[in-house]
Amino acid sequence: MIKHLLISAAIVTASFATASAETVRWARAGDSITMDPHAQNEGPTHTLSHQIYDTLLHRDMAGAIIPSLATEWAALSDNPNVWRFTLRKGVVFHDGSDFTSEDVVFSLNRAMADGSEMKELLSSVKEVRAVDSHIVDVETNGANPLLINNLTNMFMMDKGWSEDNKVTTPHDVAKGETNFATMNTNGTGAFMLVSRAVDEKTILKANPNYWGKDIYPNQVTEIIYTPIQSSATRVAALLSGEVDIIQDVPVQDLGRVSASADLQLATAAQNRVIFFGLDTVNGPTANLKVRQAMNIAINRDSIKKIVMRGQSDPTGVIMPPFVNGWTEALNQHPQYDLNKAKALMKDAGYSNGFDIVLNCPNDRYVNDESICQAAVGMMAKIGITVTLDAKPKAQHFPIAKGGEADFYMLGWGVPTFDSHYIFNYLVHSQTNDRGSWNPTGYSNADVDAMIVSLESETDLTKRDDTIAKIWAAVQVAQMYLPIHNQVLNWGMRKDIMFDVQPEDTPLFQFLTFK
């Protein structure tokens, strides 16, 4: 089997020891939804969790998997169904307790419990066992060669702390639940939570006992994180020096930021696709012809030109190009064709159109509300009267996920870089442990079976064939209307050296100052 024996990132030697005390003031449009690291599978939530909690392994800036809390991992040579992880020694949680295999077993089981949004990533896992204090075995149903890709956002919590504070299961965000871990943390990460006011300000300070002290630069001693929803206010804060780094420079202000003498702009293609979801069971959108009509009524090129000012890549599939399974053919976006769309509406029996509500976030994706507004106009041209309901993401996501919405916007990043992640969350029919983000009602037993089979397919060519087949089915069903892949634009002080990462997850222990 694939044998991983990775030399840790210790290549980065102790040359960073001369770090000065530095506070970094960091802003983006929206706040983390919860500090419970398993309760919400969402970008900004994970980004904040990554500062405080660690995963067994994570990705470097180029996307390669590197060690974190696990130093080595490999499938057992005599049993390919078992992955063995060797844990880093001498790691302590922020409260001083030791990090051991017990905590890994606890955390992975917690991530598979009810209320967890991380379930789909572990749907192939049968059992997690501690072999000794620093060795953990993860047994899967059939060999899953790609399991480790699913662990890059799987945070490790302290078993003792979780039991003491009665947070042994995650809280269900969609049901409005909270628990002690919503506002309190105890991780092993580079930063510790000092204070948090939701949607206002979160302050983190460097962890003096961080295991990565001599591995990473660790020049940041304090992080002040302020969500600023209004794009004008956010960019004004950056231009005036009130904040040091923003993750989402508004597309209209890119020129202004790069022209500033004190600021720099870092740009990269982002691993995130933006799309609309449709109800395939109830209402007019249950009719395939209506969905097809809506798909070709969206003028993706004009959204790119006007709303995104060129900062996007229109696409025809809900998959960013980073992902295994992506092809140029799938990516071809459908040609805008108003007459054909009108004809399809007529065929479907809706020549007079219909009324529908479009649920949209207004603080999550680049120009999310503007895209939705543009869609309102495009849908009106084929007779569909759309009422736009734009809300902050903390209110939008429960609506979108809960199946209340007939027409909603969503964005999807793929941390595993594999199609299976998209399928398991967005395509598999909604069951107890799969399809949690598929409120469209799309359900196809053959497709479900193929998705599950991906988890234990060791023949990678055969696996890729199955992926292609599932994509073909998704493209026919059109429960999602892809719009584009996002482009990342970080704006920051000129003396900050920080690589942009396609998942839009800054890891502040890597940040250095000139």
Binding site: A232, Q252, D253, G255, K305, V357, S370, V376, A380, D389
Partner: protein, 301 residues
């Protein structure tokens, strides 16, 4: 009519240039809003008529893709700003007017009752008014707005958003009416004509509405004008904060909110024109209201 033109009121009006200019501005803006569908070249509330490619066209310049020209340019969705401002004015004026009417009816009635009846009713009403005065009215409006949005089922929330705005602004502005009317009522109810009315056996209701009310109305007119301006600004503020009317049917406040995003990137017209319109409207109403107060207040003559 002739009596009006020969009145003191008209005489003072003719000799106050500020009053004339502000009055004409108000009338022009109101007419423009009423006849928006005849004046405006496009209907910005009809999303089917929009062409996204017209977005961000500067005033009077030709759009680089479609070649179309717009008097005041277009916003981020390709809406003609001139038309959008006219249609937005309709919402702003309608909300302002209805909110003032609501606040006026409520405030005058409560003030009348408090002043005339006195006793514990007076205490309850006026202490409640005092409590409400301790909160900024925009916060009260936001509170009422939030509660109403929470109670209403989602299907009617959008149709009701204007009604909710009217109610939330109206309920937050009734206190000045109530206080003034109560004060005047306290003075009026001691006068002989009220005693006379009581003597001939009229009911309290009749005395309040037929006899006292007409005599306490002139300060109400002044407060109404000032509150009208306040209500328009409150609507703009709520919409600016994103809790007002939906962005697909923008009012002046919504347009200013949209325009604010493009302040740094050079698309100044999206913010400037709606803001100037709002400024002109609110300033004119305030100036006219000030003048009205001076004229109707015998002490300042």
């Amino acid at each position: 009519m002739e009596r009006f033109f020969r009145s003191d009121f008209f005489y003072h009006f003719r000799h106050a240039p500020v009053a004339i200019v502000s009055f004409v501005t108000i009338i022009l803006i109101i007419l423009a809003a009423i006849f928006a569908n005849f004046i405006a070249p496009t209907n910005p509330f009809d999303p089917a008529s929009l062409n996204l490619m017209n977005g961000f066209t500067p005033p009077l310049e030709a759009n680089e893709f479609t070649g179309e020209r717009f008097l005041l340019g277009t916003d981020d969705q390709g809406r003609d700003l001139f038309s959008t401002i006219l249609y937005g004015l309709r919402i702003s004026l309608f909300v302002g007017l209805m909110a003032v009417l609501l606040a006026m009816v409520m405030g005058v009635l409560l003030g009348l009752i408090a002043g005339f009846l006195g006793g514990w009713i007076d205490s309850v009403i006026m202490r409640f008014a005092d409590i409400q005065m301790t909160f900024p009215s925009i916060l009260v409006a936001m509170l009422i707005y939030g509660v109403a949005r929470g109670i209403l089922p989602p299907e009617v929330r959008y149709e009701m958003s204007i009604v909710v705005l009217i109610i939330s602004i109206g309920l937050s502005e009734w206190v000045p009416f109530a206080r003034t009317v109560r004060g005047s009522t306290l003075v009026e109810k001691e006068k002989e004509y009220v005693t006379a009315a009581k003597m001939i056996g009229l009911t309290r209701q009749q005395i309040m509405l037929r006899h006292i009310l007409p005599n306490v109305l002139s300060p109400v007119l002044v407060i109404a004008t000032i509150t009208f301006a306040l209500a328009i600004i409150a609507e703009a503020t709520l919409s600016f904060l994103g809790v007002g009317v939906p962005s697909t049917k923008p009012s002046l406040g919504t347009l200013i909110r949209i325009g604010q995003d493009f302040l740094f990137s050079g698309e100044w017209w999206i913010l400037l024109f709606p803001a100037v319109t709002l400024l002109a409207l609110a300033l004119s109403i305030n100036l006219f209201g000030d003048w009205l107060r001076d004229i109707l207040n015998p002490k300042l003559k």
